[in-house]
Symmetry: C2
Subunit: 482 residues, 2 copies
């Protein structure tokens, strides 16, 4: 029933894109005369050959597909990209274990940023660049990129788009899906370039500036330094805060801002809550850090607090301070923020601000309904009524998110992990944050986990990146029924 | 606007009921020649006088009230009962701190069973009996009791009933609310008596048998022994397992069973899931205990596992084993069960099986809706369609439960508690379980917590017992608006 050929055809073509970026990393390796050049060339050729062959044998596929093919393509492309994307790690010998290499790559593409590397500075330039590239590609989305640059997806494009970017309705930027994808990637690239310039001005090397811009705008969080952003100056902290915040904003609003339509940005309810949450949490934590004498300098406390709040809220996962050493209450706030995520239609993970806002509104409306059972009391967002069906879907999403979290923690504790590490690793993966709590805190890495644990977390990263439904649907009987 | 006089009138009358049970405890104290006789007589007189005076000054109240008065009466009666109910603890000098005494009493009435007493066997008989009585009254409900024995509540009775027993629609047992309340309390008393006889046969003293039956049937969990049920024989373990399970079943089904209509019990979906969850969790934990060499005897492993699963699932909180010493995964299962609770219309706490079942069903239906967006796919329970409004309400309930949990944990960690203890104490209070995880595990007590923490947990117990809405509504502006 399912059009297998079209799925293979598209996956084949997408592999060619990956092959190109592997080749680009080889060039970077060459430029810096690093040891991993051969690994990248071979990886690129493997991806190129596999892609071309798959394409060739399926080129007569019927150019038409439905929802199910869409879900499969989008889910599979992330797995395929991770499988081929981990080749350079293995071939260069930098991450010899296949499990570790796959974990690192999936963590990259899903912009999670959880790493198994314990000596970042010891990695060659090509590998460092490839880690950042995986995040940059995954941030705005592999499918969105392919929609922007490939002419042939046409009719099924919309299907694919909404499976990869569930939060953003594609008609907002342009009625044509191809145009929307182009504008999104254009904007994304523009912001990345501006950040590179600012970081370079701030004193970073060009290499570090490029890498950090890639992993900021994608809210990925991979760094070229073991100490993460703590290795850089306060000016750079503020620049990165600003761009993490932008990356966590709906890109439609970024587009409006660029056109000078700031009123549209300001009137957007999700944006106002996003700004509100950021401010409130940052101020509470600043106060907390000062009160508990974590630091005496108020500017420093504010900078640390704001940086960590924005980093976790946008699910970037950079660190300038080890929040596990803060007072328990402050650590708890950071942990709670891991469930939030940034705005819908941004590159961030988590459940997204708009869902949080709608469920809080709906909860309050339940009390109104309790007092006035006969009144019609619809939930509104941006002054528009939200259909009950959508509210139901969002509530179901929250519940499924929680169920996945619970099962994840159960599985991880079955592997013998303590409670905090189990919870920390699961939410950090599911929300694509990166660092968690317990033994996967910001100054640790994921290398010590048993292999099974790494596969579970890789799966959770994928679930989180595609916002549950696209991937989970494939595992339901109703998906495979006629 | 609010009819204050009727609220005071009813609270006054209810205090007379409490006065009677305080007097009963004085009689028990007299019988066992224990030291707390005077404390109970004085407490009883204070409750009697206050109740009578309040009644007298409001006896001309308009005999009519609406939803808001209903919510206030039901919420306030639990607070008032705890305020007067803690008098014997303070006056006898057994629990001199008012905060501790209030916590112990609220924990009793809400059938939580969290205790601040570290030497249970050192308490006099009157005090022990009173602890059990508070749970027994709170189990089936103070309001339900008053509806059964007081003639005058009449018209507002239904209002009060559904505010105290949100899960059970009162028309199931009898169209008249008074008759329903009578049958519920009759059945409750009958089961309690049968359990007393069985425990007595099993070798308990009459005093212990009465106390444990009171705290089993109410799913309360207070024991007369420091070691809880571990102090008794395997036969007694099985008897208590059976009665905890009955207490966690919808009493409507208990009524059907008594009438011999077992098919009605078996056909009830919530009951089947309740039985299913119990069996599955008990078997997994049995296997886990055997595999991890916690015990070599399979019968013992099964008994420990079943006992703990039923105890936590029904939110009773008795212990025969310290589950914090089990493998992390098994401890996690127990922790997860704390959110479940028994059946709606039972004496248990938690979110209740029926809600869990409905949200899982609805989650699955979301995938069906995803694949077939145009099909009408209502959620069903017992083969009947559940209105979207009700599904929405249940989802909102779950979300609010989770939000309350998060805020509770934040507040407790603000007091400096570690993460596990904060989570354990909050869920153990909110779900009315009693023992939690961390430093409030089954072999510890709550005495070490700061006073503020005890007040927060007392409030959470009340929230949990009245299933959130009744109490929380009072704190919303819409409640006080005309």
């Amino acid at each position: 029933m399912i059009n297998r050929k079209i799925i293979l055809l598209i996956l084949g073509v997408l592999l060619l894109i990956e092959s190109f970026f592997l080749f680009l990393s080889a060039m970077v390796s060459l430029l810096y005369e690093s040891t991993d050049f051969r690994a990248f060339i071979i990886s690129s050729l493997i991806a190129l050959t596999t892609g071309a062959v798959t394409f060739y044998f399926n080129k007569n596929a019927v150019r038409d597909f439905g929802k199910r093919e869409g879900f499969l393509i989008v889910s599979l492309v992330w797995v395929v990209f991770s499988l081929f994307g981990c080749l350079p790690f293995v071939l260069s010998g930098e991450i010899p274990s296949f499990t570790n290499a796959f974990f690192e790559t999936m963590s990259g593409f899903t912009t999670t940023g959880a790493t198994i590397v314990s000596d970042i500075e010891g990695l060659p330039h090509g590998i460092l660049f490839w880690r950042s590239i995986t995040q940059w590609l995954g941030g705005m989305g592999i499918i969105v990129l392919s929609l922007a640059i490939l002419p042939f997806l046409g009719i099924g494009g919309m299907q694919l788009f909404s499976a990869e970017v569930p939060g953003l309705s594609p008609d907002k930027l342009h009625p044509k899906i191809k145009e929307t994808a182009k504008r999104l990637w254009g904007l994304y690239t523009l912001f990345t370039i501006i950040e590179i310039i600012l970081l370079y001005i701030g004193g970073m090397s060009l290499f570090d500036a490029v890498n950090h811009s890639f992993t900021t705008m994608s809210t990925g969080g991979y760094s070229t330094k073991q100490a993460s952003i703590a290795a850089f100056s306060p000016f750079i902290h503020y620049v990165i805060i600003a761009f993490m915040f932008i990356a966590g904003t709906n890109f439609t609003l970024g587009y409006f801002a660029l056109l000078g339509k700031f009123d549209k940005v300001w009137k957007n309810e999700e944006f106002r809550y996003y700004l509100g949450f950021t401010t409130v949490f940052a101020l509470i934590i600043t106060a907390g850090l000062v009160i508990t004498n974590h630091t005496e300098n108020i500017e420093e406390a504010f900078r640390i607090a704001l940086f960590q709040v924005v980093s976790i809220l946008t699910t970037t996962g950079y660190a300038t301070s080890d929040y596990l050493l803060w007072a328990p209450f402050l650590t708890f706030l950071i942990f709670a923020l891991m469930f939030f995520g940034g705005s819908a239609g941004s590159t961030s993970g988590g459940v997204k601000i708009v869902r949080i806002v709608l469920i809080i509104k709906n909860s309050y409306y339940e009390f109104k309904r309790l007092m006035h059972p006969k009144a019609v009391l619809p939930v509104r967002l941006n002054r528009k009524i939200i259909a009950e069906k959508i509210v139901l879907n969002i509530l179901a999403f929250m519940v499924i998110y929680f169920i996945v979290f619970i099962f994840g923690v159960a599985a991880m504790s079955m592997l013998g992990l303590d409670f905090e590490t189990a919870m920390g690793s699961v939410i950090a993966s599911l929300s694509n944050v990166g660092p968690g709590i317990g033994r996967v805190g910001p100054v640790y890495d994921y290398a010590f986990l048993p292999d099974t644990g790494k596969w579970i977390l890789s799966f959770l990263m994928l679930l989180g990146r595609l916002e549950l439904f696209t991937v989970l649907a494939i595992f339901t009987p109703v998906f495979w029924r006629k």
